[in-house]
Amino acid sequence: MQRYVFRRVGALAVTLFFVSLLVFVVVRVLPGDPALIILGLEANPDSVARVRQALGLDRPIPVQYAQWVGQALRGDLGRSIQYDLPVGTLILSRLSVTLPLTLLAAGLMVAAALPLGVFAATRHRRWGDYLTMTLSQLGVAVPGFWAGLLLILLFSVRLGWVQAGGFDGWGEGIWRGLRSLLLPAVALGLFQFAVLARTTRSAVLEVLREEYVKTARAKGVAERVVLFRHALRNALIPIVTVAGIQLGQLLAGSIILESVFYLPGLGRLTLAAISARDLPVVQGVVLFVASMIVTVNAAVDILYGILDPRIRYG
């Protein structure tokens, strides 16, 4: 086991090295010169050269890479060109919006999709099933940004219940924070909710045909217990797999919805950094997110062995 953990951490380091190399190269082969973008139409060759020098872009690329990796290993992701702030600080401050947004969307998604999927499965080929599937079909078909705009039109412009966007920060109290994240979380989770509801329905349907479900029913076990203890539990493996993948997709989806709801999250930071060619920020965010995903994956792999004694590592 110890050897396995050791190997897994080694593999993680190698993966991160390749991620860092990849993001560094990709960011640099992107057409568009950061200095030119900063200076815009009023640039002249002289000012462009000075800005390039100030940003350290005039040095050879391998030198720039070595310096960046060296700093990153010491926990310093560099300074943002746009904001003149440490990239690490920026990421952490934006994470305080994106992480709650993603988690709220995931929570809403699971809370709605699981019961609805189970409901549809139990009403197989009856109106309840058709209604649920039509609803989820809509969820799959409607793009998140459009759903977001519709929600804004209804709840902010028409009814005036919540603000149309923006984030006042957690300093103003948890309710105010949640209020500004609620609509975006619904819009963000809509697509994934629909997918998860459909997955749940088919997974539960599958299990409901199993012999042990028939046995349970024959024994006279209450239908609710049959559904949630026997069927859903056994159907959970594909559901959890899908939901896990969806968490990553929610994080990616936040890029667009943060723009629609003008939330100062990680997604909008990345988008703005790409347009402004704020290279340290783009590199920093990609490396940070990749590290998170790779680390979580490694942790899950290691945890498997601890959780399920049948799994052995050689």
């Binding site: 992107l30 057409p31 568009g32 010169d33 030119l36 973008i37 900063i38 200076l39 815009g40 139409l41 009023e42 640039a43 002249n44 060759p45 002289d46 000012s47 462009v48 050269a49 000075r50 100030a54 746009q82 904001y83 003149d84 702030l85 920026l90 401050s93 934006r94 705009l149 804004i152 039109l153 709840f155 902010s156 412009v157 005036g160 219940w161 919540v162 603000q163 149309a164 966007g165 923006g166 984030f167 920060g169 309710w175 105010r176 949640l178 209020r179 609620l182 723009s259 629609v260 709801f261 003008y262 939330l263 100062p264 999250g265 909008r268 930071l269 703005a272 347009s275 402004a276 060619r277």
Partner: protein
């Protein structure tokens, strides 16, 4: 129980009222977050919108009519157009409490001239030989040569006066003499300005608090103004929404002039655009009124040259090469293109009007045989391929469309290295003369000549002036109607009683 709890939670979240703004605060939407707040290191108009004339001011100010008026300098004097003496206003304090003195003016100008500083407009200060402090309130700027644009340069955003001890915080916490001070900048979300209680203009500013909210998406902006989340949308809403917003009794729409000339550029270094007949044919083929209608819903003004209506030397030359497709065809035949030619428009959709205008223009060009296709490229690519600054050698484009928002930028056509690549010694001479002609009458004559020459030589096609479109809640007063300079001056803005 659980259901009840969730319902109660939702009700609590949804029913908290959206807090009402006190009447002395204003929330303004701007589409772009400023890349730092230092106007002396970055020419971005997003910085100027927040800082210029709100937080930091110059010796001279461009007022709402486009006129230069004495500001931190209460007057100035020159006998030879080479030595300018500025007499500073007394008792003007920076927001850090210290009085502004001549030494600060010297520091700011010396820093602009110094090649070590990253000042983006350094070239504009090339004429400055020396800045001499005569006493605490008198400073003389000695020029190497006569420079007709010198006074204008001191009115620019790059010439604001700041306390020398605060030079290191210009980027995040700029300090100046303006009506507001920067209180808070939540990156990615908002910048908050507070009233400068010691502002030297008595009775101003009228607002206590200003919040700039960064909302890039036009639809989100529209929703925010309709739901009342923001009080003013400064640059975020396109002309397509204006008619609808005008009908909303809670809102008012300000339509004014700007310095933003939407220009169809042609690569003059490349065939067939190097041929004046082809360029004139393209100009004759374009019905600018239709472009304005199709792309801008009729808002804006048709242009005939690089000079826009906010400029005091503006003359209307738009009829000199009028819409005449028959003549366009004839000119094309004369130039050796009786069947037209293929062309590519490279436009950056980041600026919505570029794509729309290109679509209208392309359909008009098709009628005279020019088969233009539209290629949309990202802004960074546009700058590299079309705008092409050194080390880029040759611009890679046929035609493009972009708005040139800089005022007094006719000199771009006197620069053969600029991306139009138009090399006319005659025009360059006119421009050089205008740079050393200080008397207004003579300078105006040269500007009129330059405008006529641009129209007749057609190194580019000036389609229209982009309108200034500002949407506000009813009751917001004091905003500028026109935008003769890159400012969003809030000093006189107030809520109507």
């Amino acid at each position: 129980m659980m259901r009840l709890l969730v319902a109660a939670l939702l009700a609590a979240v949804l029913s908290t009222p959206v807090s009402a703004q006190p009447p002395s605060a204003l929330v303004i939407q701007v589409p772009t977050e400023p890349p730092g707040l230092d106007m002396t290191s970055n020419p971005s108009s997003a910085i100027a919108a927040v800082v210029f004339d709100n937080v930091q001011e110059g010796l001279i100010k461009i007022d709402r009519t486009g006129k230069m008026v004495p500001w931190l300098a209460e007057r100035w004097y020159t006998s030879d157009n080479k030595n300018y003496t500025f007499f500073l206003r007394k008792s003007v304090r920076f927001s850090n409490g210290r009085e502004m003195k001549a030494a600060d003016v010297k520091f700011a100008l010396d820093r602009a001239v110094n090649p070590e500083t990253k000042h983006p407009y350094r070239v504009q200060y090339d004429a400055i030989q020396d800045v001499i402090v005569k006493d605490d309130y008198t400073v003389t700027v000695a020029l190497k040569k006569v420079d007709a644009t010198f006074l204008y340069t001191t009115a620019r955003q790059g010439s604001v006066i700041y306390p020398r001890e605060a030079v290191d915080t210009l980027k995040s916490q700029p300090i100046g003499t303006g009506p507001f001070t920067v209180s808070e900048w939540v990156r990615g979300d908002r910048i908050v300005l507070l009233r400068n209680k010691d502002y030297w203009v008595k009775g101003l500013p009228k607002l206590d608090r200003v919040v700039f909210r960064f909302i890039p998406d036009p639809n989100s902006t529209l929703a925010a103004i309709k739901s009342g989340d923001i009080d003013v949308s400064a640059f975020g809403i396109g002309p397509e929404s204006v008619d609808e917003l005008k009908k909303d009794s809670r809102l008012q729409v300000i339509v004014g002039d700007s310095t933003n000339d939407v220009t169809l550029s042609m690569n003059n270094s490349k065939k067939p655009y190097s041929d004046k007949r082809v360029r004139l044919a393209i100009t004759h083929a374009i019905n600018k009124d239709e472009v304005l209608k199709g792309a801008m819903f009729g808002y804006g003004k048709v242009l005939g040259s690089n000079v826009d209506p906010t400029n005091p030397y503006f003359v209307d030359v738009s009829k000199r090469v009028a819409y005449d497709p028959a003549k366009a065809k004839k000119l094309l035949a004369e130039a050796g293109y009786p069947n037209g030619f293929d062309a590519v428009f490279k436009v950056a959709p980041q600026y919505y009007y570029t794509v729309r205008s290109a679509e209208v223009v392309a359909s008009q060009l098709a009628k005279v045989g020019i088969r233009a296709t539209i290629q949309q490229i990202e802004w960074g690519q546009w700058l590299s391929q079309v705008f092409c600054l050194a080390p880029c050698q040759t611009p890679d484009y046929d035609m493009s469309i972009i708005g040139h928002a800089e005022a007094w930028d006719i000199g771009n056509f006197a620069n053969p290295k600029y991306y139009f690549r138009w090399d006319s010694p005659e025009f360059q001479k006119l421009y050089a003369d205008s740079q050393v002609t200080v008397d207004d009458k003579g300078r105006r004559a040269l500007y009129v000549k330059m405008q006529e020459m641009l129209a007749d030589e057609a190194p580019a096609v000036w389609l229209y002036m982009h309108p200034r479109l500002v949407i506000t809640k009813k009751g917001v007063t004091g905003l500028w109607k026109d935008q003769p300079a890159p400012v969003l001056d809030l000093s006189e803005v107030a809520w109507q009683k």
